[in-house]
């Protein structure tokens, strides 16, 4: 079974997990994801890849604790094993010399967009990152972004970050200041991706989002992750996860993501009250 090399809290509720998976590491490209199960009874959870190291044979993901299975993941430590770590899955993000690219990253998306930032820079783009977080203490990997991006800004209500507002307002201002912007890539919570897409649509700036619907197998077999893009039903696991944010049916995605909210709460409460040591 795949062995965990590192599991660390990056900021409250957001964790990094690095797993020994040499075959997956060899194939990873920016924008793809893996599926992990914390234990034999866990759910299959899709996580965007946040980094990989073919030489070390490892793949890294950043995840937010939301339910029982992610709660279990957060309790694992280096040396533990996970029964499932499969991938890479999904199509890779499109990387090309676009010109100026703005990355809107929040939550686990700060991790997920890091390989994209790196690849876009290597492809010759001007890369500007806008990191969305409630406050400075929730920002991670700032150094990594600073090391490859032409500019790193923050959207927050935190004086320490010189910011007074969240996305979309700071994004709109940034797009105006940096015009012409060839492309926006937004990855994070559904709201961040929705709000970014809504802000860029009137400006006609192509906006890519990495959709995060509920999945089971991740290989196109079950259709749990179906979403609507450009009026057509798509499977995020094999047709995505990247889609044109201007064509996504956001209401549907918001609703489908909440399919099991009550079950998830019940399951997590039970786990924390009865099984957690």
């Amino acid at each position: 079974m795949p062995i965990i090399l590192d599991r660390r809290r990056l900021v409250p509720n957001l964790h990094l997990i690095e797993v020994h998976a040499p075959e997956v590491a060899r194939k990873c490209r920016p924008g793809q994801f893996v599926i992990i199960m914390p234990d034999e009874k866990g759910e299959r959870i899709p996580l965007s890849v946040a980094d990989w190291d073919a030489a070390r044979g490892s793949v890294t993901a950043v995840f937010l604790v939301v339910g029982t299975s992610t709660r279990k993941l957060a309790a694992l430590k280096a040396g533990d094993e996970v029964p499932v770590f499969v991938g890479p899955l999904g199509r890779a993000s499109e990387i090309a010399p676009f010109g100026t690219v703005v990355l809107a990253a929040g939550c686990f998306g700060i991790g997920a967009l890091w390989p994209v930032a790196r690849a876009l820079k290597a492809a010759g783009n001007k890369v500007i990152a806008l990191i969305d977080a409630k406050a400075e203490y929730l920002v991670y990997w700032k150094d990594r972004y600073v090391s490859v991006c032409d500019k790193v800004l923050f959207s927050a209500r935190d004086d320490a970050l010189d910011s007074k507002d969240f996305i979309p307002k700071p994004l709109e201002e940034l797009l105006k200041a940096e015009a012409p912007v060839a492309r926006v890539i937004a990855v994070g919570c559904t709201y961040l991706m929705y709000a970014s897409s809504r802000a860029t649509k009137p400006l006609g700036i192509k906006t890519i989002v990495s959709l995060n619907p509920i999945m089971v197998d991740g290989t196109g077999m079950c259709g749990a992750c179906r979403c609507t893009a450009a009026g057509k039903t798509k499977f995020a696991c094999v047709d995505g996860p990247d889609f044109d944010g201007h064509t996504v049916d956001w209401d549907e995605l918001f609703a489908r993501r909440k399919s099991y909210v009550e079950d998830e709460v019940r399951s997590l409460c039970r786990y924390e009250e009865t099984e957690l040591p």
Binding site: E23, V24, R26, K27, R29, M37, K41, G42, E43, R44, G67, T68, S69, K72, P83, V84, F85, V86, G87, P88, L89, V216, D217, T219, G220, M221, C222, G223, A224, R226, C227, T228, T233, V238, D249, D251, E252, F254, A255, R256, K258, S259, Y260, D263, E264, R266, S267, R270, Y271
Partner: protein, 512 residues
């Protein structure tokens, strides 16, 4: 099915004849007069009471006792020219194993089965025998009721497993050749077993975390207990087959990558893992599932044991399952077991055209499943939270037979009505999974996304690459997949023995 009946090869005929001529067979035939044999009634498969079994996931059928099995086997007339064998997609020597049961030689009966079928405990449970071996049984022609060949197959396999005396056949010396099997479903497991028995080194690459394909994610515990599947998979491991789960060929490594690692022959058995939807309004509402998702959550992920297992599944007051096949029956009976007050099959044709096995339809009826036949959904309605709350249905009439030979459903204008539902499972079929076709440059694919093969050899257009099961058929049965697999394995064996060792011939690997 009848169109799948085939001519036996001269070798197969000679093999059957030789068994038929054996002294013990002759004596056994003589020991009971034909009249006495035809006078015995078919043993009904004992099953758990409907009102008890529709609340849990334990197996419905109990299996024949030793006495019942011998009595049932006695009904077989041991024909000189057995038609049953021609009705079996893998040409099991049916008379031999049945007569071994009659003679009380149960272990030998199991071994006889395993000469041609690596998964008899599974086939004995899920094969549509009534439209294959049992359909052409001579006793059926004579008396109207065939020998219960499927029940006997199950009996022999269960007897062997229950006694812990699973026989590992002597393996030939290793050939040093490596074969890769993609997908641990019915066809992949069969190819792996056959190739391992021929001395090749076989690795199965399975995308999910458990082996079995549709046998683990699709067919529920109440029809095929996981312990049975596990035993069959363990048997393959003991034959030396390596199984690598959580390995998605096409993503984790492509066929070309595996070729570069020394695999010389490939079998694509990646199945019909792409659920079809009807493309009607409201189909993406919360609570509308594909049968694949619904069954995978319950079977593979054990959602029936939520919250002890983390994966949830919707529990409904009224569940509507769209379709009339075995997958629809599995889904609707699952919904009932999970606590649905009403679990309803909505099927656009009539009972006669239902593709599900008679036994499954019958079991469903006993368990309190409702049938709304000649009916199709035309749209779903959601509540303020985007959850399905109702469906609009339309009644159908039947016209002339279509390409499938079944009468074509014709909508009746003005017959629309609305039905309250809080769970919908769409079980209208699957298409071949696109991952392998998309990631294997040059692989020839048909218009339905199916991998194209030469049906005589199961060879694709790529050297050393074979395919079978639902990836070429688009949604068929376990036994047809296994039939494909047996042909493919024999051809792969020839290919491996003829091939020179060396690098793959297909050019560079597709990865970064």
């Amino acid at each position: 099915m009848a169109e799948d009946r085939k001519e036996l090869s001269p070798e197969e005929k000679a093999r059957l004849r030789a068994e038929f001529e054996k002294e013990w067979r002759k004596e056994l035939r003589k020991s009971v007069p034909v009249k006495a044999r035809t006078a015995i009634g078919r043993r009904k498969m004992p099953e758990r009471p409907a009102g008890e079994r529709n609340r849990d996931f334990k197996e419905v059928n109990i299996g024949l006792t030793v006495e019942e099995a011998r009595e049932e086997a006695r009904r077989c007339l041991d024909c000189a020219n057995p038609q049953c064998v021609t009705g079996c997609p893998v040409s099991i020597d049916i008379p031999s194993f049945v007569k071994l049961i009659e003679a009380g030689r149960f272990l030998e009966a199991a071994w006889k089965l395993k000469e041609t079928n690596s998964l008899p405990a599974i086939c004995g449970r899920v094969c549509p025998q009534e439209s294959q071996c049992e359909e052409v049984c001579a006793l059926r022609k004579a008396t109207g009721v065939s020998v219960a060949i499927g029940n006997l197959e199950r009996f022999a396999a269960d007897f062997e497993r229950g006694g812990g005396a699973v026989n590992i056949p002597p393996l030939p010396p290793p050939t040093g050749k490596k074969a890769a099997v993609i997908g641990a479903g019915p066809s992949g497991l069969t190819v792996a077993g056959d190739l391992a028995k021929l001395g090749h080194k076989v690795t199965i690459f399975e995308a999910l975390h458990e082996s079995g394909g549709v046998l683990i994610y699709g067919i529920p515990e109440f029809r095929l207990p996981k312990a049975i599947l596990k035993a069959e998979v363990d048997y393959l491991r003991r034959l030396g087959v390596e199984i690598r789960t959580s390995f998605v060929v096409g993503m984790t490594a492509t066929i070309d990558d595996l070729r570069a690692e020394g695999y010389e022959a490939f079998f694509i058995g990646s199945g019909a893992g792409l659920p079809n939807f009807m493309k009607i309004p409201g189909e993406n509402l919360v609570g509308v599932y594909s049968a694949n998702e619904y069954l995978t959550r319950v079977n593979l992920m054990r959602a029936y044991d939520f919250p002890a297992h983390d994966t949830p599944v919707a529990v409904a007051k009224t569940a509507a399952v769209i379709g009339g096949g075995n997958v629809a029956m599995d889904s609707v009976r699952t919904a009932k077991r999970l606590g649905a007050e009403r679990a309803v099959i909505v099927y656009r044709r009539s009972r006669t055209e239902m593709p599900a096995r008679t036994e499954e339809i019958h079991h469903a009826e006993e368990e309190g499943i409702e049938f709304q036949l000649l009916t199709t959904p035309i749209r779903y309605f959601g509540d303020a939270y985007g959850r399905v709350r109702a469906m609009e249905c339309q009644k159908m009439g039947l016209g002339e037979p279509d390409a499938s030979g079944r009468r074509r459903p014709i909508p009746i204008e003005g017959s629309e009505y609305t039905m309250d539902v809080d769970l919908v499972v769409c079980a209208i079929g699957q298409s071949p999974n696109p991952l392998i076709p998309q990631t294997t440059p040059g692989l020839r694919v048909g218009k339905w996304g199916n991998v194209e093969v030469d049906w005589a050899t199961m060879a694709t257009n790529l050297p050393g690459v074979y395919a079978g099961g639902d990836i070429i058929r688009g949604g068929a049965t376990v036994i047809l997949a296994m039939g494909d697999a047996r042909v493919a394995a024999a051809e792969m064996d020839k290919y491996l023995r003829g091939v020179r060792r060396g690098p793959g011939s297909l050019g560079s690997a597709g990865g970064p």
